[in-house]
Symmetry: C2
Subunit: 129 residues, 2 copies
């Protein structure tokens, strides 16, 4: 059976991503790793990130510009509070909301409901616009 191998490339991607607190695109992450002297291919970075998302190690977030950004995160269900300026991300939970949305969806006849909740703003470290 196909089992995953641990390579220095994958480890490097995981570490590089782990050093950040916000979301970053595959392209950008790759560019910075190359700039830092690590020789790996863009394809590999994409593969490593995709693997991490599948295994629940990272979250993927597709922005309105069509670019997908990634971030290390825990496996528990949570949502994100994201700074528009610096990209800093805070995870949070909203007790009661899960149930409320589910009830609302059911009242409209929807089943197998999932939800996507993201809050965007400017964090205290960044100048206000």
């Amino acid at each position: 059976m196909t089992q995953k191998r641990s390579t220095w490339q994958k480890v490097a991607v995981r570490e590089e991503l782990g050093e950040r607190s916000g979301f970053i695109s595959a392209q950008q992450l790759h560019a910075e790793m190359v700039a830092a002297g690590q020789k790996l291919g863009l394809t590999t970075v994409y593969r490593a990130l995709t693997d991490m998302v599948e295994s629940g190690e990272a979250d993927a977030l597709t922005g309105s510009d069509g670019e997908t950004r990634y971030r290390i995160c825990g496996q528990e269900h949570h949502h994100h509070l994201i700074c528009n300026v610096c990209g800093k991300t805070v995870e949070f939970e909203l007790p009661g909301f899960e149930a409320a949305t589910k009830a609302l969806a059911l009242s409209h006849g929807f089943q197998e409901v999932s939800h996507s909740i993201e809050l965007f703003g400017t964090c205290s470290d960044c100048p206000r616009g």
Copy 2:
């Protein structure tokens, strides 16, 4: 100053979009309009849709597949409940939630907060998976 002109193409896109209850991609909308006998360019459809989003006449939603889908909607603040199968969309509001998210964001030092909330599920008209 640059003012907008009204063309039959823009009107046609607005009408075609208005006849639908769910989100649809620019490509798909264009394909159906052409199939229906209307001769207009894909570029024009993109432009018309972008204009409508800017003017608040429509909502744009970028999915995880990188495709942007559009839908006619009112200007009041609302969220969407979307069927994964047929694309049917229901608008809803969540009284109290707006305040809750804002308070949560502020407690983390974030300001100028906006949020994105989408619920996905299978509607009563579609077979469950």
